[in-house]
Subunit: 325 residues, 2 copies
């Protein structure tokens, strides 16, 4: 067995091994600053909080002073190995209630597929934090961790809770200034409250996002308890103003470039059962707006990241097909 | 666009969709008790704490009264869809310092590959908890979260800290009694302290584990600070007794059925740099014992789950190749 032992010892030959064996990761050369972990400040005052090599690329988390939210905001960004030598499409992922940028980064299993397909994925936090607004920590579905991707208009929240402008304007500007993006090849997806965020961001900005999908999105917030609570808090009592952040309302009159919505919904999702999500309303509204939508009802799946991780690959391939066409 | 919309709406047809489109998941029929989420008690007093559908199978967490540890112990088990209709190989994953059963379950990205290959994966907690031993919570690398997969002999710890017997005897008996396993087709792997656990479990039980691998394992605990601290605490001051839990010592005289060790080690792993892991010592000892080993030094990878997730698929395929041969 000695000869077998000698033959099998492959020590300190990792990059050669990877290059020859992992055919789906074509470019593993780590030669420039971009794909190194460094703690230096970048353009736009991005400060690197963490950096870990993963699937030949880098998973980083940055923090920065947000002009929209007037507080420090964190976001994760996965930089695929292809970004070393070429500009890449960008896919924004918006998380759900109570999440930070970490949930997606650690649990969604997206990086493997993003590394294969050469897509940058950006995952922001879900709300401003630590703004010293009275009551901001009192609820799990309002305030901290629950920005709902709207620009608040009520007196108490309007100074900081501007997640809509943050994710559709400030963050893309920062990302395009700091990473080798293709700014015209941008997609957006998300989960639950973040699925709502993805749908409305695409519908309110025709042409900005070429691809869109969602996991168990809140499709019709003006008609569900979560939306009632959040929109009355952030937008006030005039329900008419709420409609500008409701995917069902927005899609009825959508007239921008073609969008194809892909939605996965678990049939064992408690929030689906109690009508917080209402995907059927969105399918109906898409019909009125003549916008294509695929709603896949997934038997026995729930609202968790186990569900998200299961269908993540298919969602990223859905985006890649459009973004790389 | 109306016709396109109608053509694309696929509502409430999930299982049909899955069966025809996800070719790598051959059996998605969920028909018996095994692949349902239920909170009933099972044989051996296993109590289900959580159950989530994932990749066509189920990720469950159980708790039970451990006779070895004399406290409640948790473990995760992923049941692949194939387990519905056939017995499956079992792969045990041992986690590292500070981990519970949750780290592997949520961060390692193993379920996708296990679902494809039809492998049950069992991931236990890393130590007894809440045993009211004075000082058990004082250190992150000793006591709670740091069982080191040994059977303690010192007075203070010997009653509860029996992780070696727990993972190699009590847990396999429970698993074989409750799940459709092939008890002769068993592999073991792990990370860091759990990599040490995997190596010694395989070496001390010739024939019990047919396949073995590790991510950044503590290879030579009798020669590193972590091992010094843990083994003197659990096993006392006679360093001679420590050798029976040291992979480098054990492999020199291994004479059981053939084992091929696969080890991945990040070159940017801080614990590697400060000589807590010492994989080169294991390669050398394998040479003395004439046991085959593959050590892959991975450029720029660290000690985190980002590293583990990156190479998880290749490890599971390494095990499957042997377990399904």
């Amino acid at each position: 067995m000695l000869m077998l032992w000698k033959k099998l010892v492959v020590s300190c030959l990792a990059s050669g091994f990877l290059r020859s064996n992992l055919k789906r990761r074509p470019n593993l050369a780590i030669s420039s600053k971009l794909l190194f972990c460094n703690k230096s400040k970048m353009a736009g005052a991005l400060e690197e909080k963490s950096c870990n090599k993963m699937f030949g690329g880098l998973q980083k988390v940055f923090t920065h002073e947000s002009s929209e939210c007037k507080c420090k905001m964190n976001f994760g960004v996965f930089i695929p190995p292809q970004a070393e030598s070429e500009k890449c499409p960008v896919l924004y992922y918006l998380s759900g209630l109570t999440c930070t940028e970490q949930n997606f980064v650690t649990k969604a299993g997206a990086q493997r597929v993003a590394a294969e397909l050469g897509i940058i994925i950006v995952a922001p936090d879900t709300s401003p934090r630590g703004c010293n607004i009275e009551g901001e920590e009192d609820n799990w579905d309002f305030g901290t961790g629950a920005g709902f991707y709207v620009d608040a208009t009520t007196e108490k929240w309007k100074n900081n809770y501007r997640m809509y402008s943050y994710v559709t304007k400030e963050l893309p500007n920062l990302v395009n200034a700091n990473f080798p993006t293709l700014p015209d090849n941008v997609g957006i997806f998300g989960h639950s409250m973040g699925g709502h965020g993805a749908l409305i961001s695409a519908l309110k900005n025709p042409g900005m996002y070429r691809s869109v999908s969602a996991f168990a999105p809140i499709c019709n917030p003006v008609n569900c308890p979560w939306g009632d609570k959040a929109f009355s808090g952030y937008l006030g009592s005039d329900r008419e103003t709420w409609k500008s952040y409701d995917a069902c309302e927005l899609v009825k009159s959508y007239s921008g470039p073609p969008l194809e919505f892909l939605i996965d919904q678990g049939k064992a999702d408690n929030f689906y059962t109690v009508k917080q999500l209402l995907p059927e309303n969105f399918v109906k509204a898409c019909g009125q707006g003549r916008v294509p939508v695929v709603l896949r009802m997934q038997e026995d799946y729930d609202h968790s990241y186990y569900f998200i991780a299961t269908f993540m690959e298919e969602h990223i391939r859905h985006h890649a097909k459009i973004l790389k066409a």
